[in-house]
Amino acid sequence: MPISLLVEGLSAKRGEDLIFHDISFVLTAGEALVVTGPNGSGKSTLLRVLAGLLAAQSGRVLLDGISSEIGHPREFCHYLGHRNAMKRELTVEENLSFWKSFMGDSPGGAGIGIEEAAEALGLGGISHLPFGYLSAGQQRRMAMAKLLVAYRPIWLLDEPTAALDASADRLFATLVTRHLGAGGIVVAATHQPLGVEARELRMTGFAGVAGEVGH
């Protein structure tokens, strides 16, 4: 049974401020949602609530179509935040193989090898170098390789392509497309077009307004 992500009446606060209010959507396997909106409209907050890193004020996040018993939907999610979650002192290979074995795979898929993942992001052959040696764009791409080495059906991406150049952007778009094609779900907060067929959720300060926009 294909997986689907249900969000019902979600609202969240940061401190005393209500950031967004009553957001609902359903994403089924193979669908992507692009969250847009001006700075401070709550895109990152929404993603962090979906990732289970922030408690929702009200509403809930559900997963449908998972056969096994689950503790929390976050266990089925990859979260790529602003920070790369990689150690500068360790080599790329050490970083990735740590996350691969620490995260493990969600049921229904398997992560690919480390060198293969680096290859997929156009950075084959340098995984023996310390992560700190890489440029900002390369570091970002290696952080994306995490998405590939451990399998998760849902990708939550916060400004994934901010530090990337045009060619890396396209590369990433193909990865996202491939993930969707394999029955995955992607939620991305971004200013730039992601380059894939996606629905759009425009955050307008308080409430999110859902709309269908094809690219």
Partner: protein
């Protein structure tokens, strides 16, 4: 889980890691004491176990604040919070790695410093044994303090202030067990067993409270 242990160990050994610094601090603190109390060998051998324990306590607190802060700064903590693996286990593993990298070297260095303090072989052995049993407790309860202070910009000092009072029982039973081994009337085993009990107790409440604090601090 072993991969987390190995990663943290590697990080501690790599450039800028805390493993070397802790032992150095320990040596320096212990070496400075005779300058204050004088080079009287009898006096030094009498206060030796206490000095070693205080040095080890302070050295164990060193670098504890980075336990979770470093993970938070680069975003790794977010991913650790999201996994199926219970957070308590992750915290426990990080504590073990931290102790292996910073606490164990202190235990290994302690006999050498015992010689500087003119301690007898028996006293050195007893102190080493109590340090081996007691320093994990400091790391484990320290993890709770480190987790509470994880979001604070200058958490380092605060962690020491928060954790030091909590380590008082460790110090009391560690030092008294070490003394009991040397001085005849007092039995060694009761304080030593209490010390082990404290360590085991802290192995439960330390990671549990640290995990709770990390979840609460996540924003």
């Amino acid at each position: 889980m072993t991969s987390l242990f190995l990663r943290d160990l590697k990080l501690a050994m790599r450039a800028g890691g805390g493993a070397l610094i802790g032992v150095l601090f320990f040596m320096t603190v212990v070496a400075v004491v005779p300058f204050a109390v004088g080079p009287d060998l009898n006096l030094l051998s009498r206060i030796g176990p206490a000095i070693l324990w205080i040095g080890a306590l302070l050295a164990s607190l060193l670098g504890l604040d980075r336990l979770f802060q470093a993970e938070r700064e680069d975003g790794s903590l977010d991913l650790m919070l999201m996994q199926e693996t219970p957070l308590v286990l992750t915290v426990l593993m990080k504590c073990l790695a931290h102790w292996t990298a910073t606490g164990l070297p202190l235990v290994i260095a302690s006999p050498l410093l015992g010689l500087f303090m003119n301690m007898k072989e028996l006293a050195i052995g007893a102190t080493m044994l109590t340090l081996l049993a007691g320093t994990p407790a400091i790391t484990l309860i320290g993890a709770a303090g480190a987790a509470v202070a994880v979001t604070l910009p200058r958490g380092g000092l605060l962690v020491s202030i928060l954790v030091l009072p909590l380590t008082v029982p460790v110090l009391i039973f560690g030092v008294s067990a070490a003394y009991a081994a040397v001085e005849d009337p007092a039995p060694f085993l009761p304080p030593f067993l209490i010390l082990i009990a404290i360590t085991l107790f802290f192995a439960v409440i330390g990671p549990l409270s640290a995990a709770l604090a990390l979840r609460a601090a996540s924003d």
